[in-house]
């Protein structure tokens, strides 16, 4: 109830604007299709993704197996359809983690300032000195390879960059007249953070989170590719890419289709992020 009241205007406007803009509209619709595939994939998959068809090892695309079969005779299309859900789940959950922790850290640092801010931001800087994927690798190495740990690793490794971006956005809110006015009637820190800061940076939050989902998909696939993500026989795009890379010459379809899927999804997410940024900030 309080949600609908507080957010109804900005949310409606956002929806209208997405539908008005070509880039936003199409990337949004594409995204919707991908998510839909992730949800209904298991039901529309023509085969069992783990079932071996002994009469069809490494067969090219055909009437029975639209995208061909892999080295142990499993249907690639079915594996990819199941994999959509795996990849999206890992990426989205990782991004939720980044979003929650990053927003909390960024906004708190901006609001408090001083020593706390300095200390936390230095720690973030140090973490940021390592490329995200290296940090993720270190975390997976620590926790052991599995789908859940890949998610945790990707989530944690994006927190520094995310919180620094959010802190920057929140700092501009801190200077604003309405925060000062709100403090002048005795508002508590909690009220100012939850009612003044966060709603006012929601634009930035939406854009960055979208972008981070894109990177998280890449990260999930990368970890899968080097065997530190979802473990076989779980169908996962990065893992499939890895399995296919040895047969690029004999059986191009093994690596090509998962590769295309990763590219297409990441492209769509970035396109959507870009379009959202245009909508929120038409100047830049």
């Amino acid at each position: 109830m309080f949600w609908s009241k507080q957010w109804s205007m900005p949310r409606l406007e956002l929806w209208e604007k997405i539908m008005q803009q070509k880039k936003a509209k199409y990337s949004f619709l594409m995204m919707l299709c991908i998510v839909l595939l992730g949800i209904i994939g298991p039901w529309i998959a023509p085969h069992d993704p783990t079932k071996t068809y002994y009469e069809a090892f490494m067969q090219g695309p055909s009437k029975d197996f639209w995208l061909g079969t892999d080295a142990i005779g499993r249907d690639i299309l079915s594996r990819m359809l199941y994999g959509t859900r795996v990849t999206l789940t890992v990426a989205v959950l990782a991004s939720v983690m980044t979003f929650v922790a990053g927003t909390l850290i960024g906004v708190t640092c901006a609001y408090l300032g001083g020593i706390v801010d300095n200390l936390i931001m230095r720690i973030m800087d140090i973490m940021l000195a390592l490329p995200g994927i290296v940090l993720a690798l270190a975390i997976v190495a620590l926790l052991g390879p599995s789908q859940e740990n890949a998610m945790i690793a990707i989530g944690i490794s994006s927190i520094p960059a995310f919180s620094i971006l959010i802190r920057g956005a929140a700092l501009s809110i801190k200077q604003s007249g309405y925060v000062e006015a709100s403090r002048s009637i005795g508002s508590s820190n909690w009220w100012i953070i939850t009612r003044q800061f966060i709603p006012n940076i929601s634009n930035v939050l939406v854009v960055y989170t979208t972008m981070f989902i894109g990177s998280a998909i890449l990260g999930t696939s990368a970890l899968g590719f080097i065997g530190l993500g979802a473990q076989p026989p779980t169908p996962e795009w990065g893992t499939m890419l890895n399995e296919g890379k040895n047969y690029l010459r004999e059986a191009w379809w093994l690596a090509t289709f998962p590769g295309l899927a990763i590219t297409a999804v990441v492209f769509t997410v970035y396109l959507l992020g870009d379009a959202l940024r245009d909508i929120f900030d038409p100047k830049s």
Binding site: P10, E180, N200
Partner: protein
Amino acid sequence: MTNVLEVTGLTTTFSRNERAFKVVDNLCLQVKRGESVGIVGESGCGKSVASLSMMRLLSKNGSIAGRIQLNGADLLRYSEKEMQKIRGKEIAMIFQEPMTSLNPVLTIGKQLSEGLEKHEGMNRVQSRQRVLELLTQVGISRANEIYHEYPHRLSGGMRQRVMIAMAIACHPKLLIADEPTTALDVTIQAQILDVMKKIQRELGMSLIMITHDLGVVAETCDRVLVMYAGQVIEAADVRTLLRSPKHPYTMGLIKSTPHNAKGQKRLHSIAGSVPAPDHYPKGCRFAPRCEKVMPVCLEQNPPLLDVDQQSECRCWLYRENRESTAVNG
């Protein structure tokens, strides 16, 4: 009458790049119950910093010395948590910029309820009732619609009314209005001042009206302090100040108001501008712009002392009046 506010020796220092400079220097001020006191001065003389100091709302690089007593309690001793209980309840403030003082993503109703729910422990239904009363009190018709409106639909004048409603929601004893009408059209200005006067009368509230416009002071205040370069240079009741200003700067200010310029072709203006806080001259801070400057003015900053029964003034011209009472300030 008792003093609601007693400020003694308020000095606000900002430090920037290892250098510290006093933006407000030894400000003394008393406000009685129900009284309106004006603070007048040019842009940059430290009016806003003084009022933010009294609210304890300065940014972290500013430090406050002196004493700020509100109903006998020293605000400088309070923690931030304790100040949060006092702000809005005992002392409140209205800001210069109505266009940026309201949160763009919260409805008017939500923003006005905050203080009531916090200070008065009201629930949503009670606070809604009270917010609608408040909106009506500050002269907003259609209060019911405005309650659900977002700020961007309101004009500057409407927003300033909402800001007034927000500030007076919990009946503060003292309201500081920092140039509440500067950003508004002349006709709207008059309406806002009327609303403020009306509410002040209804609530028996004390008011500090900060402005650079002597017209606003004449209309709303009982007493007035004139500030220049961080210091009070003249203090008197409004009539005395307007009729017989003592300080050369005040005289210049009065001459430069449009009201006194009838028949003149051009408005009088005081040559030069306010020095920056890190470049205050050694002697009288007004000396570089003063028409009556004397050798002593360049050497020593005059103290603020009584000129006669009605006025205090910071100027060497009145040296002989105070030979007997000389104290350095």
